[in-house]
């Protein structure tokens, strides 16, 4: 019935204005707007259902709506380690096998101003020797590095987009299932149980409690294929984690949160990393140290390029990364 009034109001207003005196019009408009708002909200929230009993309360199961790729690639140990140079570093997972390639043409932020403080630098900066730093500040997203990189990566065992690993999972599950439903003798059951308790250890990937990392808001509504999955976010998170040298033990370090805005080239190379809170940067030395360590992470060879799905560039070309050492200290 409220709909009816709204409708009548609407017709009245649309007819009236032409011959009405000017003074009345604003009121009419206000009324119209108000009624439209009512209409709009009814449209959004629906009519109140006064008499239908509320639906029986289901158990409130909280479900995180994140898209999980066939497999989380973040923490799976590399099965065959053909890494060119076995780095003594943490043998974690599918390390981004970017060995310190001499090539990374770092998009230099800016040629350092050579005298920020006392020491004078009288000599003019010598023309840079044939050092491999291409000076242009904003190099256009050259398509050159893109194609080679993925392929070169592909030969590293890190599964990127290919859905071949599922066989592992497929292997896993039925195994457990079969054993459970095996109606065989008690003996076999016992044996199976024993096997079960030991078997899982070798194969299942030591999955980190994949904390609902991608916040809901970070999931743009887009056709399913172009969404970034939680495991893809996991992967890059793992990568950045390995690049970030945390300033340890600073007072109140765990309360520090550094927000860095990152512009990424199509090949995953970070073009620019800007610390958002510039004010605090100049006033708080603790913050500055933490913020600079965070920014440095993106220039660490291990994080060049970032492992992001190339076909979803539109989603990650601008990133916001929040660094806080709260899980460490």
């Amino acid at each position: 019935m409220s709909v009816a009034t709204a409708v009548s109001g609407l017709t009245e207003e649309t007819v009236a204005p032409d011959e009405m005196p000017d003074a009345v019009a604003p009121r009419g408009i206000a009324l119209s707007v108000a009624l439209h708002l009512v209409l709009g909200s009814l449209f959004i929230f629906g009519l109140p259902r006064l008499f239908t009993p509320p639906p029986p309360e289901d158990m409130p199961v909280a479900v995180e709506l994140v898209t999980i790729a066939p497999e989380t690639r973040a923490t799976r140990p590399n099965p065959n380690p053909p890494r060119p140079d076995a780095k003594p570093e943490v043998p974690t997972a599918d390390a981004p096998v970017t060995k310190p390639e001499p090539e990374p043409p770092v998009p230099t932020p800016v040629p350092p101003p050579s005298a920020e403080a006392p020491p004078p630098a009288p000599e003019p900066p010598r023309p840079p020797e044939p050092k491999p730093t291409p000076p242009p500040l904003l190099k256009p997203p050259e398509p050159k590095p893109e194609p080679p990189k993925p392929s070169e990566k592909a030969e590293a065992p890190r599964p990127r987009e290919k859905p071949e690993p599922p066989q592992q999972m497929a292997k896993n599950e039925p195994k457990g299932e079969q054993k459970k439903y095996d109606p065989g003798q008690f003996e076999t059951l016992l044996k199976n149980l024993a096997m079960q308790s030991t078997a899982p250890s070798p194969d299942p990937p030591p999955q980190r409690p994949r904390v609902a990392s991608a916040r809901p808001s970070s999931q743009p509504r887009a056709p399913l294929g172009s969404q970034i999955t939680a495991s893809e976010v996991d992967l890059v998170r793992q990568q950045i984690t390995r690049c970030w040298n945390v300033p340890a033990g600073a007072r109140d370090a765990k309360d520090l949160v550094v927000e860095v805005r990152v512009a990424v080239d199509p090949d995953g190379t970070v073009r620019q990393a800007t610390i958002v809170d510039q004010g605090r940067l100049s006033s708080d030395p603790f913050y500055r140290a933490a913020a600079e360590s965070a920014r440095r992470a993106f220039f660490n060879p291990l994080c060049r390029p970032l492992h992001l799905p190339p076909d979803k560039y539109a989603i990650w070309k601008d990133l916001v990364v929040d660094f806080s050492p709260k899980d460490i200290l």
Partner: protein, 446 residues
């Protein structure tokens, strides 16, 4: 026309409604939280500072060595092996070739020059670079006498430490301690002074009388300590520049456990009388003492909060030896230690957030820290004997002395100085020429 406006309004509302209905954020950036990282020493390259003449090159090498050793000992930096360096930085280089340093995984780089000036003094310049960001982080120049080069190195190390960790450094500082020698029954104890890294060790007293518990004044120019020079233990003041010694205050009986107030105008100490000990503050200008506690117990080891408002001390007034905090003018004291065992030698951190102490529990000694309200007790190290903690000027590192028995019956062994990071890691021996106990860390010398 008004009709148009109405239609516009309607359209707007409709657009708004559909927006809301769809619930699609207009523009969502991908946001990633990073809550952990590597806790690793920062890889830093410190090539020898460049010099023209031979003596300058030598000085450049020595300076880089001291800076490197300072940073390495802090546990927060990992100086890279100079043999891995690709670029040989020379005087002419204004800007390093970052690619060369990235290749050896240096995150920070120190370059600099050493020159001898016309008047024979040394001119040292250094720059700290962020290798990944290809930026200069810091750069300073210093002029000093040739003999003073180690201090320049420590100051440079402090600047690097501060720029990278965000905290003040502590390398340009000194340690005063009790040097011990001779057999157990005829132990010779002398006051000794050295740089924080153990260099420039020298003795302040000759060892004829027993000395204990030296403490720096806030200017690091004076030391207050306990000496048996006139037979009974008394608190003395020693001026490092002049070598002068004098008794503090004209108290009857025994005085001990002295410590300066943060403004340097007062010394707080313990005085024994009729089997009990109470705390007194002595104004160094008027030489007038003020009584701070009046208990029938043993109150000792007072230490000021860095703002001078409070004092922490230990007392057995409650039956066992525990830590108490009271106003710097005396008055009621509040017990803050409640764990098992006995607590002693409390020292307030220079940054105010913690109190370090010695704890004796179950036959072992511990060095620990707790907040000034007694919460958050953390034990950093334990041994047969660890005692006498003292804070680095930045409140990040503790030094103390440790003695491990040399035989199975728990006898023998010699006391040595050790430092440890506040996180409980990176325990290191501080080398001294002889046995050492009772260290006290000076403030930064600047």
């Amino acid at each position: 026309m008004k009709k148009n406006r109405l239609i516009l309004a309607g359209a707007l509302i409709a657009a708004l409604a559909s927006q809301l209905h769809a619930g699609a954020p207009a523009r969502a950036e991908l946001r990633i939280d990073i809550t952990r990282g590597k806790i690793e020493p920062v890889p830093i390259a410190i090539p020898a500072l460049a010099g023209g003449a031979a003596n300058e090159s030598q000085a450049g090498q020595d300076l880089a060595g001291v800076v490197s050793a300072d940073l390495e000992r802090s546990g927060l930096f990992r100086p890279l092996d100079p043999r891995s360096f690709i670029q040989n930085v020379s005087v002419a280089d204004v800007q390093p070739r970052f690619g060369d340093w990235r290749q050896i995984n240096a995150q920070a780089l120190v370059t600099g020059t050493v020159k001898t000036q016309g008047d024979g003094r040394l001119r040292v310049e250094f720059r700290l670079w962020d290798v990944f960001a290809e930026q200069q982080l810091s750069g300073y120049g210093y002029t000093t006498t040739q003999q003073n080069w180690r201090r320049i190195a420590h100051i440079v190390a402090d600047e690097i430490y501060k720029r990278i960790t965000g905290e003040e450094g502590y390398f340009d500082s000194r340690i005063v301690y009790v040097s011990e020698s001779g057999p157990p029954d005829k132990r010779v104890k002398r006051l000794a002074l050295m740089d924080q890294d153990g260099a420039n060790n020298r003795y302040l007293t000759d060892g004829r009388s027993l000395v204990l518990t030296p403490r720096f004044s806030p200017t690091a120019q004076e030391i207050t300590y306990l000496s048996y020079a006139k037979g009974s233990p008394r608190v003395y003041l020693f001026n490092i520049d002049t070598g002068q010694q004098e008794v503090v205050g004209d108290f009857p009986g025994m005085t001990f456990a002295p410590r300066f107030s943060p403004d340097g105008n007062r010394v707080v100490l313990s005085r024994a009388e009729n089997g009990v000990s109470n705390l007194f503050a002595l104004d160094l200008r008027t030489r007038r003492p003020t009584r701070l506690t009046d208990s029938q117990a043993i109150d000792t080891s007072p230490s000021f909060a860095p703002d001078g408002s409070k004092i922490v001390f230990n007392s057995d007034r409650g039956g066992s030896q525990q830590l108490y905090v009271m106003s710097a003018d005396g008055g009621e004291a509040k017990r803050i230690s409640f764990g098992s065992g006995k607590y002693g030698t409390p020292v307030w951190s220079p940054r105010g957030d913690l109190i370090a102490f010695t704890k004796i529990d179950g036959g072992s000694f511990f060095i620990g820290v707790m907040r000034p309200d007694g919460s958050g007790e953390r034990l950093l190290t334990r041994d047969f004997l660890v005692e006498g903690p003292t804070w680095a000027p930045n409140g990040r590192v503790l030094m103390y002395f440790r003695q491990s028995p040399s035989d199975s019956r728990g006898h023998g062994g010699s006391p040595r100085l050790y430092s440890i990071d506040l996180t409980g890691s990176n325990q290191r021996e501080v080398t001294t020429p002889m046995d050492a106990s009772d260290p006290a860390w000076s403030p930064l010398l600047r």
